[in-house]
């Protein structure tokens, strides 16, 4: 009998070309995703060195970060992004790389598009110069983000260097009550574990709550692994995974599919497999979670209050909270539900898939956004947008007073023209509430799409459970 192995070990062993020393391995890369914000320098470096792309057919280019989400957009709609988009088009064309640019009906946020098109398969190694690449771990893959130097390395070799990480089993038990979503779970986990819990680890999420989640919700969980300090999160594939993938454009069919599924069924961690660390977090009686601070770990239930910094015994936590309250312009002890908002954003690689839009739409149906709030939806992909429109969701959003935009990273990171102005406060379904993240001196509260919708209606942070 072979030793019981974790899913990580099974996938790692299938990709380890060799140990180069110090525990740093050369690994086969199955899928490489590139985007316009992080790869033109890699193309340049490759060219300077006289090298070629080793496996262009295993590479997928997407433009999503520096794009306009304005209706009827074209390459020039956001002038600041023009150069990056042009470089991306030219580089992908010259190197024979498939590119979904803004004119392609498959365009969208890379971590939405990859799975949607079936570019993601269980058991694969998937890399991309973007820290939210871990999203793809929801399919039982090893997926992680890196920098531009590694993009060039993968282009040249279709392999990557990585120090073998430790493995954490994060067991999440419980079931979700109405109005509470995967986003609330992962925010709570980060709140409990802190932003450094995952450092040095790849995290496998397991437990009854995770098994019960649909695929898109699992993607939300894995997506925010980096906010837990880990480069990679993963969830074992199961029948839901296979059902989601079957028939998608890049997924193999026929005998290959059968062969693949048989192998994929062997991937989940064996009973008795050893993890470097196991941690249990109960999410059984969770309230909708809202961040109040400037790291995703500064979070609490919607019926809660902004903490009083003096209540923290740890001096570092106290200083952090003081700094957060100053930046966020909040008072100790203030009820979260008393915080007025100016912007409401539904989008980003964390929460912009069809199920996210459905959850938000069910909250706002037949209601109106508060008059002082600017509310936006940027669907995660052009495909999601079309699917939502086929269901009439766009009409629900528009009738309520939301802007119904094109797909892209949009207001998540202020690299395009969707930004929160200085001093304004946004409730956002994205993943980072860092200072200046959504624009210089903008203020961000992270929440689930449904909670964003509820806040948009009331013009202040609100308990979405009232609308369920």
């Amino acid at each position: 009998m072979p030793q019981p192995a974790t899913m990580f070990e099974k996938i790692w062993d299938m990709h380890a070309i060799r140990d180069t020393g110090d525990g740093i391995y050369l690994l086969q890369v199955d899928r490489h995703i590139i985007q316009e914000m992080a790869c033109s320098q890699a193309f340049d470096g490759l060219k300077r060195a006289g090298r070629k792309i080793e496996c262009p057919g295993l590479t997928l280019g997407v433009t999503d970060h520096i794009v306009s989400t304005k209706a009827g957009r074209n390459f020039g709609s956001f002038e600041g992004g023009r150069e990056a988009l042009d470089l991306m088009s030219r580089n992908c064309l010259e190197n024979g790389i498939r590119l979904f640019d803004i004119t392609d009906p498959r365009q969208g946020i890379e971590h939405v598009v990859a799975a949607e098109q079936g570019f993601v398969l269980p058991g694969c190694t998937i890399v991309c110069a973007d820290s939210h690449t871990a999203t793809n771990g929801a399919f039982g893959t090893l997926s992680w983000g890196f920098g531009t130097s590694d993009v060039e390395h993968v282009m040249a070799t279709q392999a990557v260097l990585l120090k073998k990480p430790k493995i954490m089993n994060l067991v999440i038990e419980g079931s979700l009550s109405p109005g509470v979503f995967a986003k609330d779970v992962i925010l709570h986990v980060i709140g409990q574990g802190g932003t450094q819990l995952g450092r040095g680890y790849f995290v496998e999420y397991s437990g009854s709550l995770i098994r019960g989640l649909p695929i898109e919700a699992r993607m939300t969980i894995c997506n925010m692994s980096i906010e837990l300090g880990s480069r990679c999160g993963m969830i074992a594939p199961d029948q839901k995974t296979f059902d989601y993938l079957a028939g998608r454009p890049f997924v193999p069919a026929g005998a290959l599919w059968e062969q693949a599924v048989n192998y994929w069924r062997t991937l989940p961690s064996d009973p008795g497999a050893t993890f470097d660390k196991t941690m249990k977090i109960d999410c059984g009686h969770l309230a909708p979670q809202i961040t109040w601070g400037i790291t995703p770990a500064e979070v609490t239930g919607v019926e809660g209050r902004v903490p009083d910094p003096s209540s923290f015994s740890d001096s570092l936590q106290r200083e952090n909270a003081e700094k957060a309250l100053e930046y966020m312009d909040l008072k100790p002890g203030q009820m979260l539900s008393d915080i007025a908002i100016d912007y409401a954003f539904i989008g980003s690689c964390t929460n912009s898939r069809l199920s996210d839009l459905q959850a938000a739409a069910s909250v706002i149906k037949g209601r109106k956004v508060a008059p002082h709030v600017r509310a936006l939806v940027a669907p995660g992909s052009s495909t999601v947008k079309r699917e939502a429109e086929a269901l009439g969701l766009h009409q629900i959003f528009k009738d309520a007073g939301f802007e119904w935009r094109e797909s892209g990273c949009s207001m998540c990171l202020a690299v395009n023209d969707d930004q929160v102005p200085a001093g304004k406060r946004c409730i956002s379904s994205s993943n980072r509430n860092f200072e200046h993240r959504q624009g210089p001196n903008s203020r961000t509260h992270l929440a689930s799409p449904a909670s964003v919708a509820a806040a948009a209606l009331e013009g202040k942070i609100a308990d979405v459970r009232r609308y369920i």
Binding site: M14, I17, R18, T20, G21, D22, I24, L26, Q28, M37, A38, Q41, D44, G45, A49, G57, L58, I66, G80, E83, A84, G123, C124, A129, D130, S131, G145, F146, G147, T148, S149, D150, H153, A156, T157, Q158, A159, L161, T195, G200, I226, G229, P249, P252, L256, A260, Y263, T295, L316, N320, K323, L413, A414, V415, R432, F434, E435, H436, P440, N441
Partner: protein, 204 residues
């Protein structure tokens, strides 16, 4: 890659925790590869809304404006994977960042750009921060000996041996991996037979 052997410089302390890569280089500076990233380093903290330097910010003051060593806080470089954060620090003049812990992607990216990231335990980090303040912020980093010197203080540090060698010799990582390209290709050829469904994509 530029070698890193020994460095004598000014150390700029920026000790607060969780300085993320968005803070190091804000997103607007990632739009075009032709932008000078040194101008964007810590932009929202270095400049006010009108683009005027904020005098209190440490990097706007002598001698720190010419510092080559940054002493950061816990979880330095967390968040976005943007390698531009390392490029911006380097373009500004930094060659070494010392912190109790780092965001992992940032930590890896430093080595690939000839920038030395040093992890110090909390006690040593605190001692070092106090000592540089007493010694006009002068600091010496000796990678060969793996020692930091400041005032009367000598602190040893760990660095992964292969990463250290690569910095000392200025080795190019991709060039080194290319030496194994035959082994990589052999591995992939065998893998095509083991897992044909992975490569089916190339025919589409």
């Amino acid at each position: 890659m530029e070698k890193f052997v020994k460095l004598v410089s000014i150390a700029a302390p920026l000790l607060e925790p969780n300085i993320d890569t968005d803070a190091i280089i804000p997103a607007p500076f990632l739009r075009s590869p032709s932008l000078n990233l040194a101008n964007g380093l810590f932009f929202n903290r270095r400049f006010d809304g009108n683009g005027k330097p904020i005098e209190e910010f440490i990097l706007n003051r002598a001698p720190f404006s010419s510092a080559k060593v940054l002493i950061g806080g816990l979880n330095f470089g967390c968040g976005s994977s943007r390698e531009q954060a390392v490029w911006a620090l380097k373009r500004f003049g930094f060659r070494c960042v010392i912190a109790p812990s780092f965001g992992e992607i940032f930590y890896d990216s430093c080595f690939k750009n000839g920038v030395l990231p040093i992890v110090l335990n909390a006690a040593d980090h605190k001692k070092l921060a106090a000592e540089v303040e007493l010694s006009n912020f002068k600091i010496e980093i000796d990678l060969d000996a793996q020692i930091i010197r400041a005032g009367g203080l000598e602190i040893g540090f760990d660095v992964p041996p292969r990463k250290r060698d690569a910095l000392l010799q200025g080795l190019d990582e991709i060039g080194t991996s290319m030496l194994s390209i035959d082994a990589i290709r052999d591995f992939r050829s065998a893998d095509r037979i083991r897992r044909p469904w992975v490569y089916d994509l190339e025919t589409r």
